[in-house]
């Protein structure tokens, strides 16, 4: 049974998505438990596959339909995506638990069934993107994830459909660029399998077609991971999306995109292709520096908490970009570890923002006075996640920054290092402004806006909202404390040899 886990990881949520929709037409209340069961099963599949990888030391290969690659589609779980899969599953499950009360608050009852169906479909796409070993299959799953994202975002308030539409235009551009890249690669190699491409492409590195295809691939992936300057779709769409949607999308979607970038740069193409043959990593690095500075400053300028967090996502992706751009072992370890960390950090932050919006009735950072009095747990989670973003040990964010820093020093890239440190400082200012508001300046005018609308009382957050948040915060600390083990036993093997 365990042999089939990689495939089940995609097949089960795909089928369940339709099942949830069908069942939901009859009995609405069954949708949520079914979603939880599906995602818990996915966690089992992901964990099982990763465990096999750890214990045998070999990647797990699964041939769909028993067709041998490179003619058949292959699913691979190795040290690079194994951890990502497990983290994906955990965060998706936590987000789903969190979403229960949020959905009842934000989504009209008639739409619950399609909502959960899309939720699980989104998870399918994300899992699939991570586990697949075939370039075109990745495109398909990328689009599955993307258009369930468009639909989920479109369910939000106000200008959400418009934001979703603009996201769609932009996102399709990216996906099509990716498709073009795959096409160019196919023209010159005749293969779509990642491992196969690695072999076939090596003598072809001087080809111009290859360079153009590579560029298309990078642009496409960059759009999906919200790399500066093609990140513009992110702030609007994630801010206007319902809270239940943004806690699923924000931590996961862009990070899977980052994983795809690392896959392309370091598995499909030999690392030396991006570092020495083409100045790809240099360009990526400089763009990342600009992205970090730009989005940190934009984040500082926001008065909406959720929008600020959206710009923070772009900054974090910039950090991952710097690790990739260093082009050495330490930098890559930092990037991979940062993908993991960022999933949990953003999950915690967006969950907190959602709870604040729902119960504290505001998203304006200057209206957060007295937050810790009314919502101590949420404030504590904000603090832990915020300290992790800033890079304070023993939270996990420090350790990925440590490796990133070492990577830039080893590569001699002083500007990249400066961007890392400056970004941390700007993030610190960002968060301490919020901490100051929520922990100080309380008393006489505790949350004045809460009393503005007649009949609004403060209702406490439900357990299903608090527990996932607290678990995310716990993971942030645990990932930090056990970073040594994680890096040594898993991530170190994910780095291609010879780096």
């Amino acid at each position: 049974m365990m042999l089939h886990f990689p495939a089940l990881l995609v097949v089960v949520p795909l089928i369940m998505s339709f099942l949830i929709f069908a069942c939901g037409l009859f009995e609405r209340r069954i949708c949520f438990p079914l979603t939880l069961v599906t995602l818990a099963a996915c966690l089992l599949f992901a964990g099982g596959s990763f465990w096999t990888v750890l214990s045998t030391g070999q990647p797990v290969h699964y041939h769909l339909g028993a067709w041998a690659p490179p003619w058949g589609i292959e699913y691979v779980v190795d040290n690079l995506n194994g951890l990502v899969l497990v983290a994906l599953a955990i965060v998706a499950l936590l987000a789903a638990i969190y979403a229960k009360t949020m959905v009842e608050r934000e989504i009209p009852v008639a739409k619950h069934a399609p909502f959960y169906a899309l939720y699980v479909l989104q998870a399918t796409g994300l899992f699939g993107m991570t586990v697949t070993g075939d370039m075109f299959n990745l495109y398909v799953l990328l689009e599955i994830a993307s258009f369930s994202a468009y639909a989920l975002i479109g369910m939000g308030e106000g200008a959400a459909p418009f934001a979703a539409f603009r996201y769609m235009i932009f996102g399709t551009l990216g996906a099509c660029a990716y498709l073009l890249g795959v096409g160019y690669l196919y023209i010159i190699t005749g293969s779509l399998n990642m491992a196969d491409l690695q072999q076939i492409l090596t003598p072809l590195y001087q080809s111009q077609v290859l360079s153009v295809g590579f560029a298309f691939l990078l642009v496409g992936t960059g759009v999906k991971m919200a790399y500066f300057p093609v990140h513009t779709w992110l702030p609007d769409s994630y801010t206007l999306a319902p809270s239940s949607v943004s806690v699923l999308l924000a931590p996961l979607f862009t990070k899977v995109g980052a994983y795809v970038l690392i896959r392309i740069l370091f598995t499909v193409f030999d690392p030396s292709f991006s570092t020495t043959l083409l100045p790809a990593t240099q360009v990526l690095g400089w763009i990342a520096v600009a992205g970090i500075l730009f989005s940190s400053i934009m984040a500082l300028a926001q008065s909406d908490l959720k929008r600020m967090l959206c710009y923070l996502i772009v900054t974090e992706i910039g950090y991952i970009g710097i690790g990739v751009a260093s082009g050495n072992r330490l930098g890559l370890i930092g990037s991979i570890f940062h993908i993991l960390n960022d999933m949990f950090m953003m999950a915690g932050l967006f969950m907190a923002a959602g709870v604040i919006q729902a119960h504290f009735r505001t998203r304006k950072t200057h209206e957060l006075t007295g937050l810790h009095r009314k919502m101590p747990v949420t404030s504590a989670v904000l603090v832990i996640a915020g300290l992790s973003v800033i890079g304070v040990p023993p939270a996990c964010g420090f350790f990925s920054k440590w490796y990133l820093l070492l990577g830039t020093i080893q590569a001699g890239q002083w500007f990249f290092m400066g961007a890392l440190l400056l970004g941390s400082l700007l993030n610190a200012i960002l968060f301490f402004r919020i901490f100051e508001r929520s922990y100080f300046e309380a008393r006489p005018d505790d949350a004045p806006h809460l009393g503005k609308e007649p009949g609004t009382t403060f209702e406490r957050a439900a357990m299903s909202e608090l527990v996932p948040m607290v678990l995310t915060a716990a993971f942030i600390i645990l990932l930090g404390l056990f970073s040594g083990y994680i890096v040594e036993y898993s991530i170190a093997y994910a780095v291609p040899k010879g780096m």
């Binding site: 398909v140 539409f165 099509c176 073009l180």
Partner: protein
């Protein structure tokens, strides 16, 4: 030079179509036209893929069982791009479906599909 253009005419066509689609997506104000541009963009890539699979004098890629195993690949058009593009077409259709849904929602809310008018309405 003419040989360069004429022999690779499929690539030129797809480049032209992509540019048209891209122009539609970016420059047009009406959201519906943007959508149509996006569609043209997607279909042109599909055409590109299919065109690279074709061969001069190749026929439909259905193997006559009586001819096993003496098949010459040159006789048949490459079926793989066709298969891939079937999937891509489905993806495109799904995306278009969602896009149209969103457009309906937007139209209901703002009464218009012109981007600048919607942005005006949002500012208020």
């Amino acid at each position: 030079m003419t040989d360069f253009i004429v022999s690779k005419y499929n690539y030129w066509i797809y480049v032209l179509l992509i540019m048209i689609g891209f122009y539609g997506m970016m420059a047009k104000n009406n959201l519906m036209k943007k959508l149509i541009g996006m569609n043209i963009f997607q279909w042109s890539i599909i055409l590109f893929y299919i065109s690279i699979g074709s061969k001069k004098g190749g026929s439909v890629p259905v193997v006559d069982p009586s001819l096993h195993p003496a098949i010459r690949a040159l006789d048949y058009v490459n079926p793989l791009p066709h298969v891939l593009m079937l999937t891509a077409i489905v993806v495109g259709v799904a995306t278009t479906g969602i896009a149209l849904t969103l457009l309906i929602l937007i139209y209901r809310k703002y009464g218009t599909l012109e981007e600048d008018e919607i942005l005006e309405a949002l500012k208020k």
